[in-house]
Amino acid sequence: MASMILPLSAMFSDLVHLAGGMGILSGRILRDLFRGPFYFRLLMEQIAVVGMKSLPLILITAGSIGMVMSLQFGLGLEKFGGKLYVPKLVTATVLRELGPVFTSLMVAARVGAGIASEIGSMVVTQQIDAIRALGTSPIKKIVIPRVLACLITLPLLVAVTNIVATLGGLVVGVTELRLDANFYYLKVLGTAGLPDYFSGIAKSVFFALFISIPACYYGLNVKNGTREVGLATTKAVVSASILILVGDFFLTKLLWMIEKWA
């Protein structure tokens, strides 16, 4: 019994530590966000990095998601004569769930890992110390550009996923399920309401924070050399993925509540 409680309590205190550390980092980000100097060029650079790094990956995943969903729904519903609902179903699931979640998971794996390892090696080689020693702030020069770049780019990438996945669904709908392309297209337009878009995009804003803040946190907290950089990278991706998947449930619930209200 004790052998189970001990690791559990250690895990709990680790979690408290972690939450505290990320909370403090978030506080410092918020405070420095509105205090000059602002590094607009660094932000632009990071937006380009985030976009370039993830776009190819996202095009592939988005296309596959749309095609697979269309196929699954199509074959499943055919038995009940429900093939005509495929466009509606695919569009709704992509816009509300799969688009934001899959895109964010891909960005976590690609960009989150990159941020954690880059910052981690900057710590090990004392570059973060050098930024401070030269009278500048690593929060402003390194952390904020990366967090903002994720916040700005992820919703755009989700929009790309939505379009590509819908196209993928349409292609399979037409070729495999023998649906009329025009019918599919009109159904998509008819289904995709503003709340669907809004819900997906709103989620992705939270997911951007779930990716970038742990990545920066684990990177900055690398202590003893290069081995820890790899560890930090793994931790950043794992916690981002968990936060995205668990957070998705609560965000979905929250967003439905807001929609009912409005």
Partner: protein, 243 residues
């Protein structure tokens, strides 16, 4: 009054007590040599003098201001006049040598790009680094990285310079270049602390030496005083009989 005063400085990492009441001061224009065994905590003291590390207890007074109590954003002023020459250079590896040297000027001054360029070329020449401005740190030798780090620290004409083993791993010629550079700055009234294991350099440029031993200053004095005391701790340290 000292330009740098460290009073009863205490610092531990976890259970490991590194400093247990270190006190020393450096007058304006003086160069203090800080010596001590590996792991004695020399780098930790230098890092604390520029606010990278917070003391657990004690005061650190730089030009009349106690920086131990300052918050990160209040330290900017101190960091503009105190330069820290990192043990390993600590260059930004995503930037060229030129951009590394331009960094402090672009952050803290409104200098024109041509003025920045002239200043950089002048600094590169001073440390024998001509022609390396478009290289990345990854493509420099260890000794060159060190000298670029030194050049970057000098960009803002600091009043105080903290050197962390600036000559370790350098060839005799470049060691001499750095010795001359430190002496030059001293003649211009720059205050400095030199952490080193390189005793010839310490004797060449320092006015006094302090020996860090077991978390305190075990012995200190001017070079003359130390020479007169052949049984002293510092002499023993230099001869490899104490650490």
């Amino acid at each position: 009054m000292g330009m740098i005063e460290v009073v009863d400085f205490k610092k531990s990492f976890g259970a490991k007590v590194v400093h247990n009441g270190v006190t020393f001061y450096v007058k304006k224009g003086e160069c203090l040599g800080l010596i001590g065994g590996s792991g004695a905590g020399k780098s930790v003291i230098l890092r604390s003098l520029i606010g990278l590390e917070k003391p657990d207890e004690g005061r650190i007074i730089i030009d009349g201001e106690n920086i131990a109590a300052m918050r990160e954003n209040e330290l900017v002023g101190v960091r503009k006049k105190v330069a820290y020459v990192f043990q390993g250079g600590a260059l930004f590896d995503s930037m060229t040598v030129y951009e590394n040297l331009a960094y402090p000027l672009r952050e803290h001054t409104r200098m024109e790009e041509t003025a920045i360029k002239n200043r950089i070329l002048e600094q590169l020449a001073e440390f024998g680094l001509q022609g390396s401005e478009s290289l990345y740190p990854g493509n420099l030798s260890g000794g060159m990285q060190k000298r670029v780090g030194l050049a970057r620290a000098m960009m803002m004409n600091p009043e105080i310079v903290l050197y962390d083993e600036p000559t370790a791993g350098l060839d005799p010629y470049n060691t001499k270049v750095i010795q001359e550079h430190i002496l030059n700055l001293k003649n211009r009234g720059v205050t400095s602390i030199l952490v080193t294991h390189d005793m010839p350099t310490a004797f060449a440029v320092c006015d006094k030496l302090a020996f860090l031993l077991k978390g305190r200053i075990g012995a200190q004095g001017t070079l003359e005083e130390l020479k007169k005391d052949p049984q002293g701790l510092i002499t023993k340290f230099i001869n490899g009989e104490a650490s």
